[in-house]
């Protein structure tokens, strides 16, 4: 078993529920191929640095998992067939240093997912603010 990380960008045109469903389907692809998911980390809806398939934004999620090296090609093949996926980046954590960094990032992500339960209210406000900020430049470009 080797440690891997997948960054997944899902289409922004889907509704919030559909995004969660497609993310679940993506995680199932990994688990059905013998991978064990350590944690997932939502980076949320972000602006892309460059348009992909004419989309300006995307929903980012990072999946940390460990799997057999031979199963990665099958996982990537299944990802390519998925039309909800704009882009995925698979990264291998092989050397001792990288594995240590992987463990740290998993811990961080786990802390993130467990913490918001107590601070749900302030987080929701933050996302609204960022949405407002994101909306402003778009109107500026339209002018």
């Amino acid at each position: 078993m080797r440690n891997y990380e997948n960054l997944v960008i899902v289409k922004p045109t889907l509704t919030a529920e559909e995004i969660q469903e497609s993310l679940k389907a993506i995680q199932e692809v990994i688990t059905s191929n013998g991978g064990e998911i350590a944690t997932t980390d939502d980076m949320g809806m972000r602006k892309l640095a460059y348009p992909i398939e004419k989309n300006e934004r995307g929903f980012f999620q990072v999946i940390y998992y460990s799997a057999e090296p031979s199963s990665i090609s099958e996982i990537e093949r299944r990802f390519r067939l998925n039309e909800d996926l704009l882009r995925f980046v698979t990264i291998k954590y092989d050397t001792n240093r990288e594995v240590a960094a992987w463990n740290e990032m998993v811990k961080k992500a786990q802390g993130k997912t467990s913490a918001p339960k107590t601070e749900e209210a302030p987080k929701a406000e933050e996302t609204e603010e960022t949405k407002a900020v994101e909306a402003e430049p778009e109107t500026a470009t339209a002018e």
Binding site: L7, I9, M43, R46, K47, L48, A49, Y50, I52, G58, V62, L86, R87, V89, I91, R97, E98, A100, A101, M105, T130, V133, E134, P137
Partner: protein, 87 residues
């Protein structure tokens, strides 16, 4: 001259901080090694050591593939606030 003086005192920023691993998702940390046009800055200007420059360049290329950092910036698609959605 002012431009040159900016880079005059050269030392590896990453060696000083004893960085062993750079995360490609940390875009704010990559900004140091990127030019205004999002090219990778050469070692002679940033003062990075060979080992850390190799790490930085692979990490920037990963971030480009993940659409976190643009490949190119042309006059047509000027980015006013490129890292606006940082948290």
């Amino acid at each position: 001259m002012a431009e040159r003086r900016k880079y005059k005192k050269r030392y590896c920023k990453y060696c000083e901080a004893k960085v062993d691993f750079i995360d490609y998702k940390d875009v704010a940390g990559l900004r140091f090694s990127l030019s205004e046009r999002y090219k990778i800055m050469p070692r002679r200007l940033t003062g990075n050591c060979k080992r850390h420059q190799d790490m930085v360049s692979t990490v920037i290329k990963r971030a480009r593939a993940a659409a976190l950092v643009p490949y190119t910036v042309t006059r047509k698609q000027v980015v006013t606030a490129p890292f606006e959605n940082l948290k």
